[in-house]
Each structure stands twice: as C-alpha cells, then as structure tokens.
C-alpha cells in the first residue's frame, strides 16, 4: 500500500478508472445483436403464420405486436425477463417486448403503494414518456404533412 494520500481529485478519478472493470463493449454488442435479432425472428414467424391463415398483412402484424407484448408481460411477471436483460442489454430493451417489460416491471414494484397511485400510476413511468414523445412527434409530422399536401 503505497497509495499517495496527496492525490488530487483528478488523479484519484483516473486511478479509480484504471482499477474499474472495463465494460466489454464488443461482447455487449454481440449479445444485443443476437438477442434483438432473435426476438425479431420470433415476430416474423408469428406474422408469417397468421398471413398463411389468410389474415391481411396489417392484421397479421397487429396480432404479432399483441402477442409479443403479451410475452414480454408474461416473462416479466415470472421474473424471467430481467434474466434475459442481464446479458442482452439493448437487445431486450429495444424490441417491443422491452416496452412491455417497462410497463410491467415498475407496476409490480410499486404495487405495495396501492392499486391506483402505486400500480396504476407507475405502469407508464417509462412507457409514458415514450407515448408523450411518440404521439407528439406524430402530430407534428402530421401537421407538416398536411401543410405540404395543401400546396401540392
């Protein structure tokens, strides 16, 4: 132990950084790629299955969305989704199952605070911002599109 007790804050911060475990970015990327790609393949297989049963393309992809959201909620309730997420990172966050997970996980956690202000209010803790910014941008885009159409 010959650590210099007179280190400046900056030196100390560098020292900590040098000792901290490096986050393996390459490995994280491969995990995200494989798990994310795999979830999308499941989605494609569900869509193909329903199109083969004579559902229209739009209906099939709507059904696919509903099923994936169900699976995300189901796996979260069983506490399995967080296990996938541990390695997969964005591979489990970015697909629609991750959106579903972001609805269910806080709802379960805050259930003890009551069904209205606990479960109900926290369901959209993360999904809420997604809807706020998603819908806002769709209205703005719609407005611009409407104006462009006026002049064409």
């Amino acid at each position: 132990m010959n650590a210099n007790v007179n280190m400046t804050k900056e030196e100390y911060s560098n020292y900590v950084d040098s000792k901290a475990k490096k986050s393996p970015i390459g490995k994280n990327l491969v995990w995200a790629f494989v798990v994310g790609g795999f979830i999308c393949i499941i989605g494609q297989l569900i869509t193909d299955l329903f199109t083969s049963w004579n559902f229209s393309k739009d209906d099939a992809s709507t059904i696919c969305t509903i099923i994936l959201i169900f699976l995300g909620a189901f796996l979260t309730a069983l506490n399995l989704y967080s296990i996938i997420g541990k390695h997969a990172g964005a591979g489990s966050i970015v697909p629609i199952t991750g959106f579903s997970n972001s609805v269910v996980a806080p709802a379960i956690e805050f259930k003890t605070e009551g069904y209205v202000l606990g479960l109900g209010a926290n369901m959209f803790k993360i999904a809420g911002p997604v809807l706020v910014y998603g819908i806002t941008s769709s209205v703005i885009v719609g407005f611009i599109y409407w104006i462009i159409k006026l002049f064409m």
Partner: protein, 121 residues
C-alpha cells in the same frame, strides 16, 4: 430457402437496430428510458422522411418489432389518415395505428402486475 433468406434479413436488421441502442447505452450512458424515447421519435421522423419504409421492406419484422417500428406505425398511421379524412387525421391517425399496442400493453401489463409478486431486494 426463401424463408431462410427472409429470416436472415430480419435477424440482421433487428440486430443492427438493437446494437445501435447498445452502443448508445455503452458510449453515452443514456438510460434505457431515453433510448426508448429516442428510438420512437427517430422512427416517426425517419418514416416521415421516407427513410424507414425501405428498411421495413427489407427487414420486415426486423424493423417493425424494435420500438422504432412503433414510431413507424405512428408516422404511417398519421399520414394515411390525413390522406383519408384530412385535417382531423393529424389528431387521430397516429394513436389509431398503434391502438392495439397501447391497449395490449395496458391490459396485459395490468393483469401481469396484479398476479406477480414484488421481488424482495
């Protein structure tokens, strides 16, 4: 063989989109919530600019299953509705197109959180 090729494209497209998210998390320390917001907004904007449509045509579910596909649904929904009903479509089109997703998230989320037990930390 066609199916294999199709699934391969789906895998590549979905994989790349998720890797971009992972790269943002690792390099910029963006939280998952911000990633989701960013991807939805980008989905809407890229759809409006006509950039996301070709990606969907190539990668199918690989582009629609990631949350940016939610933005794609919002964007195409609002523009199609404006074509059909005009001005009011600005307010109805987007949410109409992803109504199933929102309702499914609410009902399955509600039931799942009713049934599940909070994990003890």
């Amino acid at each position: 063989m066609d199916l294999f090729m199709e699934l391969f494209k789906v895998f590549i497209t979905g994989g790349i989109i998720c890797s971009i998210g992972q790269l943002l998390i690792d390099k910029t320390k963006l939280t998952p919530a911000r990633i989701l917001v960013l991807f939805v907004t980008m989905g809407v904007i890229l759809t409006f600019l006509g950039i996301y449509e070709p990606i969907v045509n190539f990668g199918k579910a690989g582009a629609t299953v990631p949350i940016s596909g939610f933005g794609y649904a919002l964007g195409t929904g609002v523009m199609e509705e404006i074509d059909k009903v005009g001005f009011l479509g600005i307010f109805t089109g987007g949410v109409k197109a992803c109504a199933a997703g929102i309702s499914a998230a609410v009902i399955f989320g509600f039931v799942a959180s009713l049934v599940a037990k909070p994990t003890i930390k």
